[in-house]
Symmetry: C2
Subunit: 586 residues, 2 copies
Amino acid sequence: MAQLRLAMAQVDPTVGDLPGNAALVREHVTRAAQAGAHLVAFPEMVLTAYPVEDLALRASFVEASRRALTQLAADLAADGHGDLPVVVGYLDRAPEPPDAPDAPQGGRALPQNCAAVLHGGAVVGRYAKHHLPNYGVFDEYRIFAPGDSLTIVRVRGVDVAIAICEDLWQEGGPVSQTRAAGAELLLVINGSPYEREKDDTRLALVQRRAAEAQCTLAYLNMVGGQDELVFDGDSMVVGRDGTVLARGPQFVEDLVVVDLELAGSSVDVGGLPEDIVHVTVSQEPLPPYAAQQPPMYPRLDPLEEVWRAVGLGLRDYVRKNGFRKVLLGVSGGIDSTVVATMAADVLGGENVIGISNPSKYSSAGSKDDALALADNLGLDYRVVPIQPMVAPFLEALGVDGVAEENLQARVRGVIWMAISNSEGPLVLTNSNKSEVSVGYSTIYGDSVGGFAPIKDVPKTLVWELAKWRNRYAVSRGERPPIPEASITKAPSAELRPDQTDQDSLPPYDVLDAILAGYVGVAHGRDTLIEAGFEPVVVDQVIQLVDRAEWKRRQFAPGPKISPLAFGKDRRLPITSHWREQQEQHR
Amino acid sequence: MAQLRLAMAQVDPTVGDLPGNAALVREHVTRAAQAGAHLVAFPEMVLTAYPVEDLALRASFVEASRRALTQLAADLAADGHGDLPVVVGYLDRAPEPPDAPDAPQGGRALPQNCAAVLHGGAVVGRYAKHHLPNYGVFDEYRIFAPGDSLTIVRVRGVDVAIAICEDLWQEGGPVSQTRAAGAELLLVINGSPYEREKDDTRLALVQRRAAEAQCTLAYLNMVGGQDELVFDGDSMVVGRDGTVLARGPQFVEDLVVVDLELAGSSVDVGGLPEDIVHVTVSQEPLPPYAAQQPPMYPRLDPLEEVWRAVGLGLRDYVRKNGFRKVLLGVSGGIDSTVVATMAADVLGGENVIGISNPSKYSSAGSKDDALALADNLGLDYRVVPIQPMVAPFLEALGVDGVAEENLQARVRGVIWMAISNSEGPLVLTNSNKSEVSVGYSTIYGDSVGGFAPIKDVPKTLVWELAKWRNRYAVSRGERPPIPEASITKAPSAELRPDQTDQDSLPPYDVLDAILAGYVGVAHGRDTLIEAGFEPVVVDQVIQLVDRAEWKRRQFAPGPKISPLAFGKDRRLPITSHWREQQEQHR
């Protein structure tokens, strides 16, 4: 038996910030050393942060990552931690760039998504990700060359195999190699984005792979928001029998320190196949020591999980893009109310500028609800009626109907952007996933904004989140922030007299159920009708979704919380005559 | 020796329009039959059009493509062309869907990009693309499963191997198989998007591959615009010695009919390896006949080529999305002048609504130039001064400086969208590639619009195009459409007194040269400085480009004409702290 204290740093790096991310690593290595760790690990590509997208195709960026890694190794030694092995993800050149001019990547020499083992001031080991995800939000065949050898590092007599993210999701490859080599610990560093209920999928996968690899499996995930993605942490260690030995927190940075009891160097170093590289950092097992209690964070409530995911995505978008404040329209409706509350939760109400832009169609109730919300949250609240700006447009152009409705929404957008240009806050747009799906928004109007917090949250879930947030406040002895009327009243854009959303859309529970099928899992018309939805409603929804693609293309990014979000996750042509009902109608 | 009359239909299908595309095929097969063809070919995925992006992941769409193919085979026979073999691209299921739940595509059974041979009312042969491009604008690992066998079809005693697009760009695979099997004709069907000077690359490649395959090579390309892409036709036939035997026109539909003289059935059908499928459609060689003169279209002038590419992209976006008219702001500046002229060229001046929105900063010259242009082109020209709408915003918000400049641009956007909502035209945005690169535009202001014709045309090229268009008019005895002053005056947004673009930007020739390096080929700061650019200017440009990513994400699509356009072709994070000069500054 051998012991090892593993420190998994689930940190929140920033894409491209090589000096900042290196400093983050150094800070956590110091903390890990203070905690008595024998091995420290960081997430996938922590040095560059993740995903870097086409930055990987810039030679200057690849070289900067390589230099930053070498510097980091030296700096860690200078910090006095040269003896402590550290596993860090980074971007590296491929050892032998393909030289075929007609290679699939268009002749470019692709770099690799790598993990390095730093020790004694130097890079002593290197592993390149084998399995490159190229589905959903991932484009890794586009930007990386796959690795083909496994790296095992011996630390205090314990053989630790290293793998990266997708390597764990695939049969064979590093998992099989780990088993064949007889390593005792499989350390997987990840940049795995949050999705609702994905945590349970991950746990089940980690348990299955631990059994397949026949060893303890440590799963370390990044934390933080990056454009459309939210990384949720939730790092864990699972024994070969599937027992959860430790679990880190969700959505916050943490150093997860776990004492492991392992068999001790069972790898036959002389007998390894050519595609396994073995590096010995330290041969001598540790003398027995008293293990600490491992962290075992409970899972968050599913609604709290979504609230925190969106909040983290929002906070990091604001912070990492150099903003301090946000600005949004507050109408008293449930969408703007929930977005304002989320923003106040992560930025503080005083950093949230809430603009009420009443029109002649705005109800007194809506104005009251907006004011009550502003009061509850301590918003920087301002009222700018739009009638004086709307009137001269109507006079000059003589438009009415939908054009007049949209005009009001666009005048609001102009006001928000003028204040943003003048004072600097990031403008948020409040559209939810149901609206974004069916195009129920005015482009360049209420869709104005640089970030769309609830873009992937369907309307029915927006209501659930609002109710959860108020219950949460009550459970903590606080005043519920969200005015009850904002939750209970019929949703309306208030762009013409007595308008409600249900004038143009099916009830939201029906709409969201159809969207879950049509958008969420690409079900066709026939499948939806077999599932019991009215054909006429299915056809209406499908048509609305298909026709709104051009609007979505110009929509702000927002955090992905579902298995299939709009944006990188769903790439459809704008120009398309495909209609599910096409064959019926020809 | 054997003869064969090949008809290559370089047609313009519409994505998703299965009935319409099938009708297009039938129409061209009839024309080919009338022309006495013995084999007819259509472009890559002609039945679904191309690229279908994630529509390929919808099972209902894949099945509809399969049904449409079967129906097409029957319809062609019913049309009396059952004896004429026809090669059509379409979308098909993979023969054996992968069943691994952890497959790279996230467990989805991916379909295939296929070519079918239709004959006698049935599908008699099938080939699936081997090499899947996954770089630039292409995401084919995401949506297709690769094929692994070659299909050779014998027509009138001639053995014709079939391949699809990227198969030709790769060493090995179908090209080697064609040579090994001894086929006499390699027919490659393509959906290959236009790029400046790509035609010469393609010709050289076709010549090289004909030599490698040791046979005649027929290269058939699609025509038309699809969102960001323009397919330029330019189909060709090249002999095994590299001689160009025929060449089709660029940017227009055509049936390219070529009489080939080939060796005649040199394939040893019994001795083929397992990964080559041979289908005999007709064994008996044709009796000798008098060959026709093949078409040999000359190459267009490089500037005319760009003009036509943008025009086709614009025309097809308008037409395929159900618009009849477009609307754009006309300021008298070169960008709006060129876009209006392009639009009038492809849609007719009467279908182009040109709006002049003078502000208090607009010069008399600009107003005159806009009016002269409108007159030259026969635009539906309207003047809507913006001062009455700008004033109440300024009064209510008290903003000035850049906020006031942007406000004027946004008031214009509101006016255009109100007219669009009221009358239905597609709004065009006039930003050129230089502006889109450095973010020199007002989001929700002059960037308002559903399509951006010159998004991939740098400012210096906009001027060249304008001059070319006037020369072209003169060469045809027509009045030059573009007012000389629009070409010669200093460019200005006219949003404040005496403003010119060069107050904030380097001269456009310098800017465009730096952008060609930084954006076009991902050169780093050091490389640019080594190339002789001023470090301070390089740093300014890089910073502007990097900081404008969020704006580009909300920008309309526009036709790609360069090797690296914005959009699908260049995928960078919005949130990024990477700066080329980072290491100098830390």
